[in-house]
């Protein structure tokens, strides 16, 4: 059993009247990736700010690499790399100068910092823009440069706060690739995200936070199983009037049929062997199916099961439901203000 590298224990934090964290606990084992998942204003950034010594908790304890972040912040800073949500770069310096500055301020020799900067600029495909002033960089370039800055000293613990928010799909893929390479290198990584597919793709474990509280903690698989809802879709070769009646007992719910009578879809308990049972039943009824799809629940389904609300801004295709406006209560709006306050 590996030691926990990041430990949060009962963290509480309020900004003025607004409660950002209401007792958050989780831990990340050495060499693993934790996805801190939640909508805007859930408290993700506040948790990261406390763990990276930028903010003090009102209550609770946090340790990184075994060191208390409140008692020994300087020791913690030697172990961590941070890529904040708003890229923290110097707009008037070039990309190369930014990285060299971070290296020097981290205690690297100037020559060493320059070499390392060049290496990372290459890795993040920023070599061509290296000597341009950062003010003129695109959002994706800034994000990659910020990520490079966080890796400069090869810290064993990394915090990436929404590393792909606001990126175009291509930039997003690039960032994912780098994160995948990192996870193979033994680094301990805490990643916050609003994207369910991102947490699913990159994280070993997921902690779901909402309104400053942990509402779920487990592997992506465990979380999906917890929601126990699968989505079934059957496409028939030719319309069969009794098809809906054949499927209904298997899914145990309402089956909707498309206008042409060819496509049937339904929500179902993700019982083992559901696909096989569907094939048998359709065959027994003499119906020809072109396609049978039993899709495991997406994390959006999980989030819905946990909170009764969909993840706002979920637009990556993994969730079948569009965002339901009007469901966000006053609490959500207050939580959004927290997110803004935390960046101020």
């Amino acid at each position: 059993m590996a030691d926990p590298m990041i430990e949060a224990d009962g963290l509480r934090k309020s900004y003025g009247e607004t409660r950002a964290l209401a007792g958050v606990s989780f831990c990340v084992r050495a060499g693993s990736v934790l996805g801190l998942l939640g909508p805007n204003g859930a408290g993700k950034t506040t948790a990261v700010r406390i763990l990276t010594t930028l903010a003090l908790p009102d209550a609770g304890r946090a340790r990184v690499a075994g060191v208390d972040v409140v008692a020994h912040p300087a020791a913690v800073r030697r172990q961590i790399g941070v890529a904040a949500q708003d890229a923290t770069l110097d707009g008037l310096l070039t990309g190369r100068q930014n990285l060299a500055l971070v290296g020097e301020l981290s205690g690297m020799r100037a020559a060493e910092a320059r070499t390392r900067a060049a290496e990372l600029l290459e890795l993040f495909e920023l070599a061509d823009a290296a000597d341009r002033v950062v003010k003129g960089y695109s959002g994706g370039m800034r994000r990659r440069l910020d990520l490079a800055a966080s890796l400069l000293t090869r810290p064993p613990v990394l915090f990436l706060d929404e590393p792909t928010t606001g990126l175009d799909p291509v930039s997003r893929q690039r960032v994912w690739e780098v994160i995948r390479q990192l996870t193979g290198s033994g680094v301990t990584l805490l990643l916050t995200t609003q994207y369910l597919d991102e947490a699913d793709a990159l994280a070993d474990r997921i902690v779901v936070v909402n309104h400053g509280q942990v509402i779920a903690d487990g592997t992506p698989r465990e979380l999906k199983e917890r929601s126990r809802s699968a989505h079934v879709e059957v496409t028939l070769a030719e319309p069969g009037p009794g098809a809906a009646g054949v499927i209904t007992p298997l899914v145990g719910g309402k089956v909707s049929v498309s206008a042409d009578g060819l496509r049937l879809s339904a929500a179902a308990d993700s019982a083992p062997g559901l696909a096989t049972a569907l094939v048998r039943a359709l065959d027994d009824a003499g119906l020809l199916a072109d396609n049978i799809e039993v899709r495991q629940p997406s994390l959006d389904d999980v989030f819905f099961a946990l909170t009764g609300a969909h993840v706002p801004g979920e637009g990556n295709g993994s969730g079948p439901e569009p965002m339901r406006s009007g469901q966000a209560g006053p609490g959500d709006r207050a939580a959004e203000r927290v997110g803004e306050g935390a960046q101020a």
Partner: protein, 284 residues
């Protein structure tokens, strides 16, 4: 590729002393100073208050007011130069306030705060970069002065001492500006500090005109204004006309000592205060 991404294993972090040593602090300060100088090179108009403004002020004061203000024992040109140096260097400390307010406003301050650096380097690096630009300002003032006929009968050492006296004052004042910048909501509000505090400070003094013609109460303020001591000190060192020498107030009788004492006092109060404001401002 793989080697670029490989991370070092975490050592036994412990809580061993991780306060940077003197050498590392000095390196941090050099890095931060250089960063601020690069900023200036990117936006050269930032330098207008230490390049264009001094030339403008010198020409304006000498040709507009020069003839109208009689200076006992010398020319207005010889009288005004120390005053212009004090005026320009005093008002240019506004740059420190604006620069720090800008840093705090940007996300960059969070980057500095998660690095294992000596944090006061943010403040010290800023003040040193501003001192270097103040030196540039002094050169511009001197060259412009020489071009319009300023002369000094003093030797090289007293001449340099005169400049050093004013620069030391400007350096200590830049820490007051740092306090203002650290308490400003925005770079714009930090800039207003210049007009509300620095211009009156520079003008209610003997820098532009002899104080003898001011109303009594204002004369008292002017005679104890540190800018007056600094200006009179430079005039004395440069053997330039110094009408304040006939004023009995202690700082006017001992302008060099008064200038040094004022500067040291301001520095001793403002620097620790700025460091405290910085800590408070960066704690959440």
């Amino acid at each position: 590729m793989t080697s670029a991404i490989a991370q070092r294993p975490h050592g036994p972090a412990g809580t061993r002393r991780v306060i940077p040593g003197v050498a590392e602090r000095a390196r941090n300060v050099v890095s931060m100073t250089r960063r601020n100088l690069v900023h200036i090179s990117r936006e050269p108009m930032q330098l207008s208050d230490v390049t264009i403004q001094p030339v403008l002020f010198t020409v304006l004061f000498i040709y507009l007011f020069g003839g109208a203000i009689p200076i006992p024992g010398g020319s207005y040109t010889d009288f005004i130069l120390a005053g212009l140096l004090a005026l320009n260097l005093t008002t240019s400390t506004m740059g420190t306030a604006v620069g720090l307010a800008t840093d705090l406003h940007d996300g960059i301050i969070d980057r500095f705060r998660v690095l294992p650096m000596w944090r006061p380097a943010v403040l010290v690096g800023r003040s040193l970069a501003d001192l270097l630009t103040a030196c540039l300002c002094a050169v511009v003032v001197a060259v412009t002065g020489l071009a319009v006929g300023w002369r000094t009968g003093a030797g090289p050492l007293p001449i340099v001492a005169g400049f050093a006296l004013v620069l030391f004052f400007a350096y200590s004042l830049s820490w007051v500006a740092a306090c203002v910048g650290l308490n400003s909501k925005s770079p714009e509000s930090a800039a207003s500090f210049g007009f509300i505090v620095l211009f009156p400070l520079a003008f209610v003094s003997n820098a532009m005109v002899p104080t003898q013609h001011m109303p009594g109460w204002l004369q008292a303020v002017a005679n104890w204004n540190p800018v007056s001591a600094v200006t009179a000190g430079a005039r004395q060192l440069w053997h330039n006309p110094n009408p304040s020498a006939s004023i009995s107030a202690w700082p006017m009788q001992h302008p060099i000592e008064a200038a040094l004492a004022w500067s040291a006092l301001i520095l001793a109060v403002a620097a620790p205060l700025a460091s405290r404001f910085f800590r408070r401002r960066t704690t959440e």
